[in-house]
Symmetry: C2
Amino acid sequence: MQDKTVAENGSSRRSFIVTSGKVIAGAAVASSVLGGRAKEAEAYPFTTGYKYTKLNPQEVGRITYENYFKRWCASSVIAGLVELLQKKVGGQWKSFPIDGMRWAHGGLAGWGALCGTLTGAGTVIGMLVPETDTAEAMVNDLAFYYSYTELPSYTPAKIIKAEIENMTISSTPVCHISVGRWMRSEGVAFLSPERAERCARLAADVAIETTRMLNAWADGTFKPKHKLLFNVAANGITSQNNCMDCHGDNVPSVETYSTLSK
Amino acid sequence: MQDKTVAENGSSRRSFIVTSGKVIAGAAVASSVLGGRAKEAEAYPFTTGYKYTKLNPQEVGRITYENYFKRWCASSVIAGLVELLQKKVGGQWKSFPIDGMRWAHGGLAGWGALCGTLTGAGTVIGMLVPETDTAEAMVNDLAFYYSYTELPSYTPAKIIKAEIENMTISSTPVCHISVGRWMRSEGVAFLSPERAERCARLAADVAIETTRMLNAWADGTFKPKHKLLFNVAANGITSQNNCMDCHGDNVPSVETYSTLSK
């Protein structure tokens, strides 16, 4: 645990977990617990009619960037990938509604939750990759890329909105934190042209990284870079490891006595 | 503002905003600011080949509930709606990959961000409703329903996993907070059969509410219950209004001097 997590009754969450006698130490246990309990929802293959051909990441990035100012984050990432797939593959892509996930902008219609670039990228990955564990590994890698890379790094050949100077590490896929950290670094406000420019370039970065992963998958060389972020053993719940980033010293406890049952 | 939001330099965010001379008072200004700045990404109609026919909400709920234990949150909501649409409408739905959004479970592959039920519901709404502002209004209403209704209220005719006792108000569409609040109330752990049962029933609730909205939309009687949660004027960023729920007394400031520009 990166965080010193203290439950409200004064005991550490770690002591809750350890004294439960069922969960002892981190990842190995998490893995065995997950392995034992989650079989009912194991990954499985399914059928999809959406096909892929390798795309030029920079071309995808450019289309995404240019589309952002009309379509915002989620649909611009989808546009970058799907407009090219409509031309180069056709088939089912021709009837795919590129704007169907537009509601995901602003972390769901402005609620500031999950960054819409990831919803958009995940939608295309999910339609294409007919093994749910591979699709999930790709989206997980993308969330790591988004959260722990200095972004935006994409530089448009022709800048549409504004010059911007800074890249930041969001440490999370959550929209308002990611945007807020960059705004603080750049010294600009949400409704500034600079912030729009940043999100457009970030969308391009996410679309480019997605294309690289899909190209590797098409070549049969995709291997996940990161394990799934399974923090149930450590934190008692679906979560990241950096609880204090948001919660400060008051990380809530789920107040349960083991990760398994009553 | 429900929160007393204090910037790190000791000035309140409100004073930042007010003294900028550009933003004065809440919603009216937010609306005019949005109206003025966001025209570049205004809502617009688009074409979709996915068609809808009115569905029985309880039937959708039952299928969603039963699918949860195999498909988890996002794909179980999609299954509840799409399995019926495949039978009753056919067409493009026949080739829609129900498992394509499975990665969204656990708030994106276990990261604990946006609840996957909303990603799943939003995907079906987005594919169907070819006016982006209407689709966004539906997803926004659904996020309000999810966040401010006691859930889960769905009671299966045949319980699959466990008896559960409690309903909670999540106050957010964020997975780990929503799940954690319920776990605390019920006194159970994440990997318990009770928690799985809760998420399955919650998925059914979200699928039922989605069906009600889509049925109203099919009848031409859908009207948004809630305004979009546009908190940029109040909080300087995409966000909810209950910042202190997560951040306690340390609500971060975006440290910008107006909502408009440098």
